[in-house]
Subunit: 329 residues, 2 copies
DNA sequence: ATGAAAGCGCTAACAG
DNA sequence: CTGTTAGCGCTTTCAT
């Protein structure tokens, strides 16, 4: 493989000039520029990326931490991130954490190793204090999940409001026994959603029951499991607020397969507004999160951080969420 | 940020020894090894990835070309690739081509730039001759899509058989007007599926009609569009073979919303067996592709290529596909 | 078992 | 506008 020196030799110029042409510097005469292009062409030359990164201390790569590649919410997030990354010639190193805090830690070290210029987190598996340490080595942008412990660049939704609206909707439909499903961690997002659920309950004088709280609910199978578990309860929920359309779909499917009618006997509300929400029968009432937009905003924030012109007022972007009423409630 | 020289100094050793410890070389005394570990710890040292790559000419990174990040079939492929990559400490640079051949070309150049050690293609947008040129710069593994023009490492399914089985199933259900939906390109996979469809038609003496061929069908919306288009036809299909569950779901949804019954009036068969196939009402008959397994096999092949011990007989891996009969046919 | 030294391929002062 | 030169941080002979 040809090197920059080979090109310089072939063009009868110095490697510095070749480098200038590669990097589109000004002050290179059109004549020599053509000479360089011809030589590069003739030698089938392509600059070595590692050498460029080592020397320039810029990788043009962003690490994106994703808990689950097969969860559509996160792929839409990724789609938004990728759209902006492509526009600005950044590459994406995709890091699947599987909700494992050690994997998250492992990937965070890419920042220290200068393998990436910055990291976008779409979930948070470690204490914030642990993550904050890495901030010295490059920008960390939060997207979807967030923290109040520090002012960091983040793109988020009012999750408490989302859970409140959803729960209130179920109450207004006449339900008083409302199950609550969520993932496993103790992130701020989780805390806030939980608070929104309780706020709605409180407002309507409905007692909070621990039995109605279901954790470790991430996907369709988990939703089915949750519903099966309620079958043995003395006082089972008649409605479910869930943290994801996948889980909601599982509950709906399992309820129907056990002979219940949705929304006749059981009401279910999802979260995200993934494609599955419109495909399910009955169609799923849900809280819409603009996933693609969250992602694109996060990547834009990242670019601003990298280019050092970020106004503190832009650090915390909040996007709207929206109740979409369909047939499942 | 500390460098290897700093660590060497702090440990009272040479940088060569530190390097040996980092790379787990033999012939380093336990004593010095501990010294190095302590120094690395104290200085919060992490080796610079670009320097390692430049010097060792190994990036430990694989480029994965994906047409659509939001298409579940490809994310399951990616999931399989990622599982094996993680096990072997490889990183993934995700390249979304959006079915654009120029983007594909752009990403192929990462091989020339030694930014990745190899590339896994999950779709093919350029002529095979164009892609074959890049093979000099590192291994290219095909996964899902394939070619007969050259013996390259690939993991594939018998797509002609898949389309044949699916079409025959529709014929056996009594249909003689069978629509055929596919994506846009002219890859071998597309050609083979088309051939399988025609073979089934031929076998049962059913004429092939150009009007029943629908191209550019990739997702749910495309499926809806296809069905709407048949509404104006004199002799519309009563059944549809599709290249993806997404498209099939679109057809089913649109048919039902226009008052047709599925499978009463219209039968639809999908491809992939994505989660949506079991969630749809009626549930979707489909040709199951073991996506995760295709991906993991591809990454395993890649690793073998990189480690130079690949037997030509292992180059072409063929996995089974399977007709899954549900309610939509 | 350890160190000295060369060099991977490139960029960026600096000088002219 | 162009060339000379000094590294970026690491690995790897080659000695010892």
């Amino acid at each position: 493989m040809a090197t920059i020196a080979d090109v310089a030799r072939a063009a009868g110029l110095s490697s510095a000039t070749v480098s200038r042409v590669i990097n589109n510097h000004q002050y290179v005469s059109e004549e020599k520029k053509q000479l360089v292009y011809q030589a590069m062409e003739a030698l089938n030359y392509f600059p070595n990326a590692s050498a460029q990164k080592l020397r320039s201390k810029k990788t043009n790569t962003i690490g994106v931490m994703i808990p689950q590649l097969t969860n559509p919410f996160f792929t839409y997030l990724l789609e938004g991130i990728d759209r902006i990354a492509t526009e600005h010639d950044y590459q994406l190193l995709v890091c699947q954490t599987k909700n494992n805090r050690f994997k998250e830690l492992h990937f965070l070290n890419y920042l220290k190793a200068k393998q990436v210029d910055g990291i976008i987190l779409t979930s948070i598996e470690n204490d914030w204090a642990t993550i904050a340490d890495y901030h010295t080595y490059g920008p960390i942008v939060l997207c979807n999940e967030y923290t109040y412990q520090m002012l960091v660049p983040m793109v988020r939704l009012d999750q408490q409001e989302g859970a409140y609206i959803g729960t209130r909707h179920l109450i207004e439909k006449g339900h008083r026994a409302i199950g609550y499903c969520f993932g496993g961690n103790t992130s701020q997002l989780t805390i806030d959603r939980h608070a929104g659920y309780r706020r709605a309950l409180n407002q309507f004088g409905i007692p909070y029951k621990k039995d109605w709280i279901f954790r470790d609910a991430y996907d369709l199978e988990d939703g089915k499991r949750v519903f099966r578990n309620t079958l043995e309860m003395d006082n089972p929920p008649t409605a479910f607020f869930t943290g994801s359309d996948q889980v909601a779909a599982g509950i709906v499917k399992e309820a129907i397969s056990h002979g219940f009618s949705v929304p006749g006997d059981i009401s279910v509300i999802g979260f995200d507004d993934q494609p599955i929400a419109s495909v399910l029968e009955p169609t799923l009432t849900t809280i819409k999160q603009p996933a693609e937009e969250i992602g694109s905003n996060a990547m834009n924030l990242m670019i601003k951080c990298l280019e050092n012109h970020i106004d503190p007022s832009e650090m915390d972007i909040q996007l709207p969420l929206q109740l979409i009423v369909r047939q499942s409630t």
